[in-house]
Subunit: 440 residues, 2 copies
């Protein structure tokens, strides 16, 4: 069976059949994609149990939209069914007043669990961990551990990953259910081969935790307070969501857009404008530098207007070369292929690559421009291509590394940012070469 995405049918009869035949993940994906009204209407046709399951799979921003559109009884019932970590993520979408209302409907115990998560800083491991885990004691036998799993497994996030604690609740390590199932019933947990190192602090960065889970192929990791008290676990499915969210943010930043943090149609047009105007204005201000450079060379331009014809071509190619280098290095930094200690190595490599790219384009450009215009212009354009591509590759590759060094997210060294810088410096190079070659 292939999971082709097909929109829910329009007719009431077909819709009822579709809702019966389609799995919950697919229904949730389709609902995510609809506008508030048709979404709520379809959602009302689901049985309460199925509605709760599907609600669980919706994007937090969509969940928040729906709860706001429902009457409070319906909304509270759906909210109560969520896990504490999912409640915390959903509450991030609300205004403070709404947060209090929703927290107040929870039982004191559940409220404490969810409020605890909200106390940790945004983007921290504490904020997204699940406080519903099953911890084993090191002196338990395997039989005791398995019976604990059977009696309490229903209420926890996962039974595949089991932290091991001492009497005071301090973390000793963790074990997977697999090891318990494969062991002898009379073995003690402490005698099994368990992992001692798989834990993170509540204050560690979410992305760091998620990338560790990915590279270690783990089911989950433990999260502890400063005194090593176990307070939660982060599971692999949370890790995947974190990575996707971080990637979406990085991609947005790479094109000078502030991350939306929500599905495209869940934000208003004005929010789209807001997410772009700041960077766009800053880039526009930086781009006024090109006006200054050209004003400085206005006399040269008046002498040889032909020089103006190649401005967009040359700075365009420079910008593209810089963007290629910048994006390659930003990504290599994100997946830890490249580090700040590689600065010199990367700079040499990329300027070499830029030189080769510029050189190849220059040879082609020389003959074409020579044929259509004249030898002087051909020489100026070719030499500028070599210089501009080398410069662009160097600037594009070093800027993300320098950003990381001064603790700025390298993803903000966006292609537009590099392009804008290369534009102004490329123009200076162009006119300097032109004045030299043409003797202006």
């Amino acid at each position: 069976m292939s999971k082709a995405t097909t929109a829910p049918p329009e007719s009431a009869v077909e819709l009822a059949q579709w809702l019966k035949d389609t799995d919950e993940v697919t229904i949730a994906a389709e609902l995510d994609h609809l506008d508030v009204e048709p979404r709520t209407e379809i959602f009302r046709q689901l049985s309460p149990d199925r509605a709760a399951d599907i609600f669980d799979y919706l994007e937090p921003a969509i969940q928040a939209q729906m709860l706001t559109a429902m009457d409070s009884g319906e909304a509270f019932a759906l909210f109560e069914e969520l896990e504490p970590d999912d409640q915390a993520r959903l509450l991030e979408e609300f205004e403070p007043g709404q947060v209090a209302t929703f927290l107040n409907i929870l039982s004191p115990e559940d409220r404490t669990a969810t409020a605890l998560l909200l106390d940790y800083p945004a983007e921290s491991a504490g904020r997204i961990m699940s406080p519903n885990f099953l911890a084993l004691r090191a002196d338990m036998t395997v039989a005791e551990a398995l019976s604990l799993v059977r009696s309490e497994g229903e209420d926890v996030e996962t039974i595949y990953f089991l932290p091991i604690v001492d009497e005071a609740g301090h973390l000793l390590g963790s074990i997977e259910l697999e090891s318990l199932v494969m062991a002898e019933m009379s073995d003690r947990v402490r005698d099994l081969e368990y992992l001692k190192s798989d834990s993170f602090s509540v204050r560690d960065d979410q992305e760091e935790v998620a990338r560790y889970i990915q590279s270690a192929d783990s089911i989950a990791v433990s999260v502890v307070e400063d005194d090593d008290t176990l307070v939660g676990i982060v599971t692999v499915d949370d890790a995947m969501d974190i990575i996707q969210r971080e990637e979406t943010e990085d991609i947005a930043r790479a094109s000078a857009v502030a991350p939306l943090g929500k599905p495209y149609f869940a934000v208003t047009s004005l929010q789209l404008v807001r997410s772009r105007i700041v960077w766009l204005s800053m880039l526009a201000i930086a781009a006024t530098l090109t006006v200054n450079v050209l004003t400085a060379f206005e006399a040269t331009l008046e002498q040889v207007v032909t020089l103006a014809l190649f401005i967009p071509l040359l700075i365009g190619i420079g910008g593209n070369t810089g963007a290629q280098s910048a994006t390659t290095i930003v990504r290599a930094l994100a997946v830890d292929d490249v580090r700040t200690s590689d600065l010199v190595r990367v700079g040499l490599r990329e300027s070499g690559v830029g030189l080769l790219l510029g050189g190849s384009l220059a040879i082609a450009a020389y003959f074409i421009v020579y044929f259509i215009f004249d030898q002087d212009i051909a020489l100026v354009v070719s030499l500028t291509l070599v210089a501009i591509c080398t410069l662009a590759a160097l600037v594009g590759s070093l800027m993300p590394l320098i950003a990381r060094m001064i603790n700025v997210d390298p993803a903000v060294i966006s292609a537009p940012f590099v392009t804008t810088i290369v534009d102004a410096s490329g123009l200076i190079v162009y006119f300097m070469i032109a004045t030299a070659v043409m003797g202006l």
Copy 2:
């Protein structure tokens, strides 16, 4: 414990201690990052067991590099220890001759398993599935199933995800170990609540499978041949790797770079040049359009050289606006927030956003240019900003959707591509507005 990345120490004594104290995932990450020689040297200091475990965590391109550098005895021993799906992924890095050599050292059984995967097309589910799974029969009791898990669990990829088959090996569904552990020993597997729909065809796209695992929070999914014969499973850790690889590819394409498919330092400078020159040349050819446009307006330029001063600024802002829209829509398509059926809705929304962005910049630009230059130029620049931003946002948003419609990967509608198109059309708009306003 935080997993801060620290390079392996230089001194032999400290290095030996570091190798003892550091977990395998971290050591692998550090090795991935070294050059071939120091990497192989450090690797040789590991005990054979630990070496094999760490080898498993290395990037396929790095594994291939190392095997090539080792003598064949060492190389074969490491290769043999890998799972069939990891072997298949590693062999993709080799030349056909090498592939045959490595396949030949395997036992006939293992060779069949690995060769089977290589027979499926690249990027398909069949290529990355694990053929080592544990299937249950529907008529087994829970006790029988658990005893099968205990006796054969060591040899399979995971025991948490258990496909269920009939006598002929046709897939009926799947169950998680959790359900078995929580059930009564005398229950029959077929009477437990098992999932009937979690399966994909061997020919389905890897990314589709991975995104499903992510949205369904699954541990794994089954993979079947056309007649529903179960042939493998894809696990969540494979899904994470696939998504990361696909994201890296998309990000590369978004800046007009052919995906490398390997860590940055695992490719040569010439390979970097090759990955960029094709797109860069195509963009350069497209950019010659700007030379044509400017040549057509050369007389106008000669009359008012001041017009040339604003060319980089205006096309720069247009390019950035287009890149913002394009990147937003490419990402929204990738995560299924936007679909081709939303074409009109997206086009209207983005041109509105572009109009607002251009309008805001135009107001600021009018006063600044009026103050420094004159009213005519101020009017031309402002009107051009409005037009160019609206056009750029529209083109940038629609091109990825149109690409998807004609079955081209929307990620190739890169920011540089949009920028280059906007450059040429923006210049035409600029000179048309200039001739109209200034009566040229």
